[in-house]
């Protein structure tokens, strides 16, 4: 299959490209990038006035399968990913069963093989059932294809155990992703500790519970020289600690999620449980520091932390509601609205955070548009506005933090290998049916 | 206006033979001021001090959903027992009769008067209930497109009756 993408603004920081160019795709690979390409092709996409970027690599996604298929499945989640311009996801292991042994990882790999619509990479659990008591068989998880390990949702409280895990990870050359939270300090909290918890009459999650754990995990990783990646950074102190660790040459990378630089704690004062997340929304200052952290490259990656939940688990008393929000379908648009249009990052900078850096950190061959690369390509209309409503979501769950908001930037096409895996349907009033020409096949 | 009130005061005394066992109750706001003035007039004539009270009828209205401005509930002030008394109920303008109906219901919650006689400064017609005044200052026929306001020195700075026309009725 030959496909020509004409006249788009090709943004490929891996190859220092940011210019209007054509891309020729054949047999699942990018064969040529250049000006005025002419070729007899099977189809052409006119990308005039559009951004042509590598498919997004989202390294923090909860697909919920196996175990909570009511919230999301590999199939529905990857469909949602395509709509958001995402072509590769890293699936988090907090499923039921957790991805902590041979059976569960093989089960997940089979599900992915049979039903996924994008590339799906697997993250295994550090400890059995993520309980933090006994290590998983990390060697085996690596052999079965896991690219990383994490107890995400939990931190490994026992420093000794975590140190053991870091040693093994170093030996096996597998990435460790850290959910940084000291539960003795977050104390059953549900919102940011401070004026928010005070005026709302709720238990608060302190900033210390995050940044003290960030410091600990970095310190232990330094001892073992293991590559670690700090997940969902939310507050100023965490950014500062990571910045100084990087200066000292420690092998640490980190990510933030779109909500941490877009929203702040005032948004939650109306008790909307869709905004209830862990780590919680912090202050306006923290959002600014996160933006600066992205600009200065202290923060390497933007990842969605897509966390689907059913209505029964969200539309209940605030204390009892689950933590987490979906994010695959809004991630890019929030970044465009908050970072591109507000001049925090330019397109090459954003593509680094969404595509190139995650690929480098996971050591996969994605996130670039060079000749010979896999044809995972996303085409975006950067100025098109759209309203976030419940009924437009492809994901099984609708717990988005951006409901009712108008965002700028919409994905027109998502190309996976050489097929147009997702194409935005033309504007129709009150209807946002998505035609996902899904491609059932093996992830790369 | 004062002449009218004095004339009404005479009528009240005449109709009732005297001012014994009489109490005057004004419907807030302007009825309350008028009630005071009437009581003073009666005192001048008969030498008898007649107790005066006021009623706020907001909590007894049947039309709370239809009015546009927010009514502020004010304090009803009936410091005496009305059972067995001759109650003169006073209001500035008699129109549909609904205000008086509410006042009657409220009064009865306070006791069982000997009788209630209604006294109004202006009767403009357009009754919606079978209510009639016993003592009227002046009959002023109006159209429904007009509205009548009584202004009193005590609260408006001047004694006057104003008729206004508005186009949306």
């Amino acid at each position: 299959m030959k496909l020509l993408i004409k006249n788009g603004q090709v943004v490929d920081p891996a190859n220092n490209l940011n210019a209007v160019l054509d891309i020729l795709v054949q047999d699942g690979k990018i064969v040529k990038v250049g000006k005025n390409l002419k070729n007899n092709v099977d189809s052409t996409i006119d990308a005039t006035d559009k951004i042509v970027m590598p498919g997004i690599v989202d390294m923090h996604v909860h697909l919920r399968e196996p175990g909570r298929e009511d919230k999301e499945t590999v199939a529905s989640g990857t469909n949602a990913a395509l709509k958001g311009g995402i072509t590769s996801v890293l699936a988090m292991p907090n499923t039921h069963p957790a991805i902590d042994n041979k059976d569960s990882i093989q089960l997940l790999n089979n599900i992915i093989k049979k039903t996924s619509h994008t590339n799906v990479f697997v993250c295994g659990a550090i400890t059995k059932e993520r309980k933090g008591r006994e290590l998983s068989d990390i060697t085996l998880l690596k052999q079965e294809g896991a690219l990383a390990i994490s107890d995400d949702g939990n931190s490994v409280d026992n420093a000794q155990l975590f140190l053991e895990a870091l040693k093994i990870a170093k030996k096996e050359n597998i990435l460790v992703i850290c959910h940084c939270e000291d539960v003795s300090l977050s104390a059953k909290g549900v919102v940011n500790l401070g004026i928010t918890s005070t005026r709302m009459g709720l238990r608060g999650i302190s900033r210390e519970s995050e940044y003290t754990r960030v410091a600990r995990d970095i310190e232990l990783a330094e001892r073992t020289n293991t590559q670690i990646h700090i997940a969902h950074v939310s507050c100023r102190e965490s950014v500062e600690i990571i910045a100084s660790a990087k200066k000292r040459g420690i092998k640490v990378t980190c990510e933030t999620a779109p909500h941490y630089f877009t929203l702040s704690e005032e948004a939650i004062w109306g008790y909307d449980a869709n905004l209830k997340i862990n780590p919680p929304l912090r202050g306006k200052d923290d959002a600014e520091v996160i933006k600066q952290g992205l600009k200065s490259d202290v923060i390497d990656v933007i990842a969605s932390d897509h966390a689907p939940h059913t209505e029964n688990e969200k539309d209940i008393e605030f204390d009892r509601a689950e933590f987490g929000a979906i994010g695959l379908e809004t991630e890019l648009a929030v970044c465009v609205t908050e970072l591109i249009h507000k001049g925090v990052l330019d397109w090459p900078g954003l593509v680094q955070k969404l595509c190139l850096n995650p690929s480098k950190i996971l050591r996969i061959n994605k996130g670039a548009l060079g000749e010979g690369c896999d044809a995972d390509i996303t085409i975006v209309s950067p100025n098109q506005e759209w309203l976030v409503e419940r009924n437009i979501f492809v994901s099984k769950s609708k717990n988005s933090m951006f409901l009712g908001k108008t965002l700028k930037g919409i994905v027109d096409y998502t190309i996976l290998k050489d097929k147009v895996a997702y194409q935005k349907t033309p504007e129709r009033k009150n209807s946002n049916e998505v035609s996902c020409k899904s491609r059932v096949g093996k992830a790369c | 206006m004062q002449k009218t009130l004095v004339r009404i005061a005479h009528e009240i005394i005449e109709r009732n033979k005297n001012a014994e066992d009489m109490v005057i109750v004004g419907i807030m706001n302007r009825g309350a001021h008028l009630a005071k003035r009437l009581a003073n007039a009666i005192e001048q004539i008969e030498g008898v001090s007649v107790p005066v009270g006021n009623l706020d009828i907001t909590l007894y209205r049947d039309d709370l959903s239809m009015i546009s401005e927010q009514p502020v509930v004010q304090k009803t002030d009936l410091m005496f027992d009305i059972t067995g008394k001759k109650v003169i109920l006073v209001d500035d303008v008699l129109y549909t009769g609904r205000t008086v109906r509410a006042a009657l219901t409220e009064l009865i919650d306070f006791g069982r008067p000997q009788f209630i006689q209604l006294c109004v400064l202006i009767d403009r017609g357009f009754r919606e209930l079978p209510i009639r005044a016993d003592f009227v200052g002046k009959n002023i026929p109006t159209s429904q497109k007009e509205s009548i306001e009584v202004h009193l020195e005590e609260c408006d700075g001047v004694d006057e009756v104003v008729i206004m026309e508005h186009d949306d009725g």
Partner: protein, 312 residues
């Protein structure tokens, strides 16, 4: 001239100064009804008020019930322990069921902060917050403020201290909102662990853990119940220890500059947060608070019923 347009009363946080004063102005008139021979007005005749209480409460529930009945409304009491709630029905489903019964006002008390606000998003009828978790108890604060206004003639410039478990107190929060909006100077006093972080941002003028400091310039003190039945028990000093350090006693009051007006939301723990002598003494307005509570709740029910009609 103030106007009341709301069909819910969820808290004092979102009310303007004018709205609060409007409620208080109406309250005096309703108090007068309570002095009559026939303590009833037909204002809410034919309306149904449902008391939906998920936490046990006698005083507040009875107070709302009396208030509703004085307005000629019909009252239904639902105590959550005994109802379908036990069978797992959600708060919002219960609310919708009550709405389907054509009730007009739900008075809700719940242990989850934010419950009243969330309920108001799920039903179209009026919701009055009778206490949600640690968040707000607006009618309590309104009656506290009304009582102060009766005593002092104003709220502006008054120095009011709130003593007790501030962190877990919805009475404290509502009072802080209401008093600060009306121009009072609010001091909170509690053991350090029971003062929530950044409370100055709510309008509190001073924070102290020294009871004498809290009393020295105070015009009035609102003494909160020490809630030993709550599960944050390890944060609390021993009961006797608490009385020694924070108890309101006659000796303490003598040390203060002014003759302090004593308030308490009830029920009183004699000998723990307040001595019997003070609770029953001449400076106490605790029983006035109870009477005023009825008047305030009559005003609130009246106003939200109005607000609901206007929204239609």
């Amino acid at each position: 001239m103030a106007e009341w347009k709301r069909k819910h009363l969820l808290g004092l946080e979102e009310l303007s100064r004018e709205e609060i004063e409007f409620i208080l102005d109406n309250t005096s008139s309703f108090k007068e009804v309570l002095t009559r021979e026939v303590k009833k007005v037909p204002t809410l005749r034919g309306k149904t008020v449902v008391n939906l209480f998920y936490e046990p409460s006698t005083r507040t529930r009875v107070s709302f019930e009396v208030a509703a009945k004085r307005l000629s409304a019909d009252v239904i009491n639902i105590a959550a322990e005994t109802s379908s709630v036990r069978k797992g029905e959600t708060l919002f489903d219960t609310g919708r069921n009550i709405e389907a019964l054509k009730a007009d006002i739900i008075v809700v008390r719940h242990s989850a902060s934010g419950a009243a606000a969330m309920l108001s998003h799920h039903v179209n009828i009026s919701v009055v917050n009778a206490g949600d978790g640690w968040h707000e108890h607006p009618t309590q604060a309104l009656l506290d403020i009304f009582t102060l206004k009766e005593k002092f003639g104003r709220i502006e410039g008054l120095e009011v201290s709130i003593v007790g478990d501030i962190a877990h107190s919805r009475v404290a929060r509502s009072n802080i909102w209401g008093l600060s909006k009306l121009g009072a100077k609010v001091t909170v006093c509690a053991p350090k662990l029971l003062i929530p972080p950044e409370i100055e941002q709510m309008g509190v003028s001073s924070i102290t853990d020294n009871i004498d400091v809290a009393l020295v310039n105070a015009d009035a003190v609102n003494v909160l119940r020490m809630q030993f039945e709550r599960d944050e028990a390890n944060m609390f000093p021993e009961q006797l220890e608490y009385f020694k350090k924070f108890g309101i006693t006659q000796e303490r009051l003598e040390k203060a500059k002014k003759k302090i007006v004593i308030m308490h939301p009830g029920p009183i723990n004699r000998g723990i947060e307040i001595s019997s002598e003070v609770a029953d003494g001449t400076q106490s307005v605790i029983l006035d608070q109870v009477t005023n509570g009825i008047a305030v709740r009559m005003a609130v029910l009246f106003l939200v019923a109005q607000g609901a009609k206007r929204k239609k």
